[in-house]
Subunit: 308 residues, 2 copies
């Protein structure tokens, strides 16, 4: 039996949100717009450009409203953003956002630390957000944070994840995202949870948000892929994560993920070589090497067809 | 359906051979013996300690005979070495080696560049070596180099690999190793080739030798594992590979592979935390950071049970 894999997958680029929100350097709206143009030029089809969160908490995302108003309209490209609460959703609606992400945590402790409310309070909040967003015709991706482990609680009983997937399915969201928020997942766990989530969600696509903290990012992607996930978050150069952990990686690197998928004959629409140039430009701006592998290799290494 | 994975796998440590032969610094026999002790202390069960090759070609391996004579005898630990020709086999027999690796290439060009003979000449040579070694009661692992792609020829028709697996199976070797010599494999290709090789080889175990050049090492391991491979080569810290390619990695890092397997509930006998200490000591000796991920992370990151 061959590996059960799809013909194509969607990669959602997270550099502008999960990536830049972890940087001390504040990127101007113009810089963000240039990055968006470069990403689209490399074939990226979905970009999370920011979050509608209070600027006091995440100053890097303060220009999300302005950014949305100035984004280039491109056929086939989806812009999305993160909303955490009613106020954020109102801002998103005012900006005419067509696609949104919203999440709750499967971990009680993480929920309280991250959003200052219990998982049940968080559920009440997101349920209302989802209904409200859908009433406005917005495509809703609903997520489960700490789905594969929690930095505070350790292992998370999968039943907690499945319960949330059931609830999201009942609300008929457009996509269910399972997030390895702390990078604690392993391929076996990812496979089991994605498989079961897919059984519950039926025709609603399952997406994965993976961090490469312990070097298993691409293995987890592969595992989720064979279990039926068809949408993957990734971050240019593997940006994101905690800058205070030595050698800690952030999200899986978009170019590394796109290259592996392309080598497997799976279409992403991404030109890996162009995307590596975008990563190298970003490394120059940030004055540091990013953790992704491919952008630092000689270009001949990235082709199995005509190796040097 | 759960991920089809075994309860335990064997990791063959390659640091002393594939690792050190790529280093300019010559390690003394005493240093190698200390490394062997440290590896055994961390639970490594099989070590390729050197190669019986002419010292003119690989001076780093010149002490392989002496090293073998001085290795500590430990129950449950297998020492192995690489032999390339009749002279090497004679040396190995004289040292009382009980387990040997020998290989031919699936690529005509690589065969000529690497061993100065055609694939058919190489076959004639290895067939005789295998018979000779088996006559001396030696356990023989027979390998296919460039099984997943060649740095000179690019893609390798899988039929060439299968033909060699058939020939090895007919010779009743004890293990068949498929090597991603240039790190060009992808999870789909690895899965397909391992699956078919396993069908051909029957009860003869399939092992994989993977390089992490393009960041897909652990994904390829996972893919080979689910296709039925049960033995994996790895190298402390991801040593090996070409020091002249910036950011190029060598073999998959033993500690990273062992950790992923352990997180998946697969037994390797390795104490990952101890092995990370061995890697950090080697980094000190080499005065550089090795490409493996885990040894550079805070130890709390390496446990999903009790994260900080």
């Amino acid at each position: 039996m061959s590996l059960p894999i799809p013909d194509h997958v969607i990669i959602e680029e997270e550099a502008l949100r999960d990536g830049l929100q972890n940087e001390n350097r504040l990127f101007s709206t113009e810089e963000k717009l240039s990055l968006v143009q470069a990403l689209i030029g490399a074939g990226i089809k979905r970009i999370q450009v920011g979050s509608f969160v209070h600027p006091k908490w995440v100053p890097q995302m303060a220009d999300t409203d302005e950014l949305f108003r100035r984004l280039p309209r491109k056929t086939g490209v989806t812009y999305t953003a993160l909303v955490l609460n009613k106020k954020g959703l109102e801002r998103a609606i005012a900006c005419g956002v067509e696609h949104l992400s919203m999440s709750v945590s499967a971990s009680e402790t993480h929920s309280r630390k991250n959003t200052n409310c219990s998982t049940e309070e968080a559920w009440t909040r997101i349920e209302s957000l989802i209904r409200n967003a859908k009433d406005h015709g917005i495509i809703v991706r609903a997520g489960v944070m700490t789905a594969f482990g929690c930095a505070y609680e350790g292992k998370i009983p999968p039943e907690r994840v499945y319960r949330l997937v059931e609830r999201y399915t009942a609300l008929n969201v457009d996509e269910i995202n399972l997030a390895d928020t702390a990078g604690l997942g392993n391929p076996r766990l990812v496979h089991d949870i994605v498989k079961k989530a897919k059984d519950i969600a039926g025709s609603i696509p399952i997406s994965l948000h993976l961090h490469d903290t312990r070097g298993m990012g691409l293995a987890n992607l592969l595992s989720g892929l064979t279990a039926g996930a068809t949408i993957f978050d990734a971050c240019l150069g593997g940006l994101g994560g905690c800058p205070f952990i030595p050698n800690a990686a952030g999200n899986i690197a978009t170019e590394d993920a796109a290259f592996m998928l392309s080598e497997m004959g799976i279409e992403t629409g991404i030109d890996v070589s162009s995307l590596c140039s975008v990563t190298r430009a970003l490394e120059k701006t940030l004055s540091r090497k990013l953790p992704g592998r491919l952008a630092g290799l000689p270009s001949s290494t990235c082709s199995a067809e005509t190796p040097s």
